[in-house]
Amino acid sequence: MADIDFQIEFEGFNEGQSPLSHLDDKTFIGNKGQASDMKADIISNPGFLTQSPALVDLTNGNQDGVVDQLIRHILDRPTGTDTTFAIGTTKLFKLSSTTVNSGGSPSWPQAITNAVSGESVIRLKANLYGFFNRASDGEILKMPLANEVIDPIWGSDTDAALENAPHPVAIKEDVMVFGNGRYVGVYVEGSASLDVQKLDFGEGSEIADVVFNSNTWLIAVNYGEGKKGQVYLYDGSAISNILSDEAGVGDQEIGFLYVLNGIVYIAYHDNSSNGFTIGWLSGRQIKPLRYFSGSLPDHRQKALYKNTILFVSSTNIMSAGASVEQLKFQISTLADGGHATIGGIASPFGTPLIASTDGGSNHRLAKFSGYSVDSNWKSVFVDVTQGRLLGKIHTIIVNTKALVGSARCDLKIEGNQGVVESSEFEISTADKTRHVFRSIDLKAVEDMRLVLSYTNGDTTNTCPIRKVTALGNYVER
């Protein structure tokens, strides 16, 4: 019998999750760098697997500070040096890259009269506009950035109250286009004209998101409780009452639109299946790219991070895209989102900010900082049989960057669809780059997968893994 009958390599971790991981977390379908299940960072240094980023609350960024409610939307760009704003259920927050403002004049955070659910904030020229729902309708607040005094009924004073609905908003020059239930509203600052019902998509429709790209507004509309989605083009001047073009997603619900490098990405959901999809607007077709499980993110839950789209799925933060175009488009679960319910996410200062709540008295606004030990990576399963022979893994070789300090990752092998597994092997030791583990205590199996866990990892120094090689023999059982 030969010393080695087969080898299995796992590398190229920048490829993210397997194409079918949203349907089966023990799938056999995938590439050597793809995971059947994961929560790890594969975009910060593509090719290496590293720990998920940890979350650290901003100063005053929880219930012990001034964040005493879920922050539902964070303005994804600064309004001044190290300054931006966010809207919670009933309050408007001012924040920097490190701190949620407290006190001052006017005193932050500011309560918004009659607000029950903040929807979005945006800066248009010298003013901040906030969209929120009241008990039975919606409203737009206006706040000059110069004096930060809120006019909580600016919208109804200027035109009319809004629908009680999601209010995605986008701007271009002096034009602001926003969703208002079945309507699209338009505000043109140059002419001081507000029309909260500029376009009417009809009974049973709801605007899911609005973005501006290539001199055109793109409006995502869901019909019939998310049973049908449509993307419309609307002329850039936002003067006409007529739409320019449209593309149908089909019988699926749209979560958000996101423009990155001139490409319009769409998150959507097929109600009849378990997965969610990230696709892109390719001609008049919505072309699916990658799938994910969890939940459908909405217009408040998208951001840019390391040239990929960061978005919320259930309790996790996910990434979709390629760090550079010459790599493959990936989708991966990057990190935990904090408390069980995630609100808005944004990266106005580069580092993502994530708001969450436990649904009770605990709330937080946190940012990525350091490394999380809630991080792992599991390969796709690999069939290791040959005829009536089973595979016996006897050696594992791990290639890492030169480890620093207490950096550590634990490795084990699962077999027979996870029914059996080996002991854990510790990948550690400063300056070491090649880690060889012999005598793997896993019996001969039909299939195997690699499991890497950072549960015992370090929060300061990560253990970046470049490649794992499993060596084995065929044995008769």
Binding site: A2, F6, I29, G30, S244, S282, E325, K328
Partner: protein, 258 residues
């Protein structure tokens, strides 16, 4: 020979035993730059090239109000949309334009933002004489100096106007019937109406001889070419002179449209 075959066989067996099978999972995935490429022949949702936007129901070129466009309303220029544009033509052919300049074949502006340029659109000429002229002819004679030539490049409608000041001679209490007559002669043809002038029935009875002024005009279509119009006058009675005061007499024409 047998030995060689055995050796080869052993080598093959050893080689095949030593070959390590690669079980690494494989799944072909294109690079992002390929996967996010618009397929050949695929029609984009709306066509955008710089400020050029082409949609299934709209075409626009330009930004802001500097736009040329067309949609179901018609075509327009100079506005973000049809309704606020300074120039548009609707589907019924109705044109709305804030300004326009029309030029003739000589590059002369005949219509501009202020409307018709009258000096260019309505060619005209006018002539007056000097001193007086007397005749006792009962046939029409030319009034010296009151002749005009009209050159038309195409058939046109012409307004011709003559103002005549004259008198018929004789003693005031001479009750002999007599009158002064003038007419416009165009290309040899005497045009009615005749202008009567110069005699007056006085308050105490009888005629008085005073200068009187009358004006006549007519409109007619003239063919392309050169036309001569002139003023003529005569007396009705050769015993009585007809006098025309040319300083106060004028012959004019205006072409109604170029």
């Amino acid at each position: 020979m047998k030995k060689i075959l055995i050796i080869i066989g052993v080598v093959i067996i050893i080689f095949s035993m030593a070959k390590i099978k690669d079980l690494s999972p494989k799944f072909k995935i294109p690079l992002a730059e390929k996967e996010l490429e618009l397929q050949m022949g695929q029609v984009p949702m709306g066509m955008n090239q710089g400020g050029l936007n082409m949609y299934s129901n709209k075409f626009k070129r330009g930004y802001g109000d500097a736009v040329f466009g067309s949609d179901e309303n018609g075509i327009w220029l100079g506005g973000a949309e049809f309704d606020d544009s300074p120039f548009n033509v609707d589907m019924d052919g109705a044109l709305a334009a804030k300004s326009a300049t029309f030029k003739d074949e000589d590059n002369t502006t005949i219509i501009d933002a202020g409307g018709l340029v009258s000096t260019a659109s309505f060619p005209f000429d006018s002539v007056a004489g000097s001193s007086t002229q007397v005749t006792n002819s009962t046939s029409y004679v030319d009034v010296s100096g009151l002749t005009l030539e009209i050159t038309l490049e195409r058939e046109a409608r012409i307004l011709i106007i003559a103002t005549v000041r004259g008198l018929i001679g004789g003693a005031p209490d001479d009750n002999t019937s007599r009158f002064f007559a003038a007419t416009i002669n165009r290309n040899g043809a005497i045009r009615p109406p005749i202008v009567l002038s110069g005699i007056k029935y006085g308050d105490v009875g009888g005629y008085t001889t005073i200068y009187q002024t009358q004006t006549t005009h007519y409109v007619e279509s003239l063919a392309a070419g050169t036309h001569t119009i002139k003023l003529q006058f005569r007396t009705s009675n050769g015993s009585y002179n007809a006098t025309i005061k040319r300083d106060d007499t004028r012959l004019s024409y205006i072409v109604l449209g170029k």
